[in-house]
Amino acid sequence: MKYIISTSIALIIVSAILAQSPAEIMQRIDDNMSADNRVIESSMTIHGRRNSRTITSISYSVGNEKSFTEYLSPAREKGTKMLKLDDRLWTYYPANDRTVQISGHMLRQSVMGSDLSYEDMMDDRKLTDVYSAEIEGDEQVEGRQMIILKLTAKVDDAAYYSRKLWVDKEYYLPVKEELYAKSGQLLKRTILSDFKKIEGRWYPMKLNFKDVLKQGKGTDWEIISIKFNTDIPEYLFSKAALKQ
């Protein structure tokens, strides 16, 4: 009897998942990953050819329009701040007390030598706003069931024309994401892991970003602490705050 009940429950869950539309899955990913505002303290480990270096920072962001990041360590980077307002980005360097606007080709440069470009950091719109989705199939990864979701841009200005996501059926978070060019060329790969439930949502605490066209082990990004929907003072999102 127990077997029948558990089998029935499993079938209901599976059928419920299968009944979900790709758009709904994408929406659930957005629900997990996006927030009105968030404060993240994180460390970024950049793997070079000879050695690796770790940079810690604290970021305050509101939606995908405003964000403010301050680098905390190492000493060389400490005090460097970045402010993003819509599509503009400024960086403040304490060593020479200068604020530099980053635009044009400089946005394509990597951030602190990582596999992330300034453009990557700035483009964090919700998936549902940019892509339409279709399910490509199921796959088992390390014993866990994944839905393979293929996203295709529905707007003209998407940075990546298509994406492929391996979505964990339990957490509704991608464990792996591949970003493709319009021609179908794979450009970047992100591995997400160490999912934790924070304030009612699942969130990946470790990410590895890899520019597949470049040599190297990519960039590890580890979240030390994260808070959603907290009070962030408005003055942080001003150029004046960069020099404070």
């Binding site: 635009s103 080709h105 060329q185």
Partner: protein, 387 residues
């Protein structure tokens, strides 16, 4: 005056080694001034001609927002080729070029490049663009030898290029290096990749758009919505470098000339001091003091004429030889237009200016010590007493 020249000639030849030492140093300064300026002028001429042949032709029409020194302008600086511009483009008198920024990944390294779309059939610039028409397996690309060296690329190598289309969406394809050109103009080579204009338009989604139009004819063309940049504007950087090099050379030439002039000055002071009896005799014979000053000034100034003759004796064969073999700078790449071999250019103006400069300066330094003669007491001078 004839007397002054006769006396000057006899005295100079009579002074022997002292005269020839002065003349030797002065002739060396003379030859060096002509050589240095000839080399700079030769560099300038070759640089201008090469830049015209490879990059600017008879001028360029730029999109009003385009600034070649500001890469931030590239993304928006393009417009459709319409009306008169389109007619000239069809006639091959204007060559459209579309610019975009892109990233290449040679050997797994990330490198920013300037992607240039240029019609493969163009005949205005010396770029061997005809190779860009063969796009069967991969898009054909043309690069310069500096770019090839920097990225470690050879002909038929393939490399991935990533760019953003007009809407900002990433795209990437494989390029095949169809040819590597060699030229003396780094601004058409460093960090640049050329592909066919039509191919480029397809890639970025900007149909019939260009950032700039290269003018391939001397005839006057007026286009609205395009800013014309003439040769002088486009070659300003090269001109500025040449001017600064000339200014730097003046210091060296001035030092050498000063040494030579100092020798003439010393000789004159010595002559006035040692030849007081002779001065007294000239005055006793009825020459005015000014005539005697004139004799000594002509004598000093005659060093420069002799220097010009001596300089011509070894300078002309030297300059003719240089004009044949050129001055090789090897493969130095200092980021400015400089030919592998520079052939000096000696203009008539340069030679006459140099002669005039040396003659006038030698005459002035000869006159200054000779002025003392006008204050001399003829009787005392005749007795040879020191004054």
């Amino acid at each position: 005056m004839k007397l002054a020249f006769n006396l000057a000639y006899k005295n100079l030849i009579g002074a022997g080694l002292r005269t020839w030492l002065n003349v030797g140093v002065l002739s060396f300064a003379f030859v060096l001034i002509i050589f240095y300026n000839g080399m700079i002028d030769g560099w300038n001429r070759q640089g201008r001609e090469d830049t015209k042949a490879w990059e600017v032709a008879h001028g360029q029409f730029w999109h009003p927002e385009y600034d070649r020194l500001d890469v931030f302008t590239i993304i928006d600086a393009h417009q459709e080729i319409t009306g008169t511009a389109a007619e000239y483009v069809s006639a091959g008198k204007l060559v459209p070029i579309l610019l975009r920024q892109a990233t290449i990944y040679p050997q797994g390294r990330m490198q920013g490049v300037l992607l240039k779309g240029i019609p493969h059939q163009q005949a205005v610039l010396e770029l061997p663009t005809s190779v860009l028409q063969y796009n069967e397996n991969a898009v054909a690309a043309l690069i310069g030898h500096r770019m090839a060296k920097a990225a470690g690329l050879k002909v038929n190598d393939r490399l991935l290029i990533r760019w953003r289309d007009k809407n900002g969406t990433f795209d990437a394809i494989e390029l095949r290096i169809a040819a590597i050109f060699s030229c003396d103009v780094p601004s058409v080579d460093n960090g640049q990749i050329y592909i066919d204009f039509d191919q480029m338009q397809k890639m970025v989604g900007l149909n019939n758009h260009a950032t700039l139009l290269v003018k391939g004819t001397e005839e006057e063309i007026e286009l609205s919505n395009w800013d014309f940049k003439n040769i002088n504007v486009l070659l300003k950087e090269l001109d500025d470098i040449i001017e600064s090099k000339k200014a730097g050379g003046i210091v060296l030439q001035a030092v050498l000339l000063l040494i030579a002039l100092l020798a003439i000055f010393d000789t004159q002071v010595l002559s006035v001091f040692r030849r007081q009896k002779e001065i007294g005799t000239y005055i006793a014979l009825g020459l005015t003091r000014q005539q005697v000053v004139g004799i000594f000034t002509v004598e000093g100034g005659a060093h420069s004429f002799l220097a010009a003759l001596v300089g011509a004796v070894y300078g002309i064969p030297f300059f003719l030889w240089l004009d044949t073999v050129g001055i090789s700078f090897g493969n130095v790449d200092v980021g400015i237009t400089i030919a592998e071999k520079i052939y000096p250019y000696y203009s008539i103006g340069l030679i006459f200016t140099s002669i005039l400069l040396i003659v006038i300066s030698a005459t002035i330094v000869s006159y200054i010590p000779a002025r003392k003669i006008s204050g001399m007491n003829p009787t005392e001078a005749l007795k040879g007493k020191l004054q």
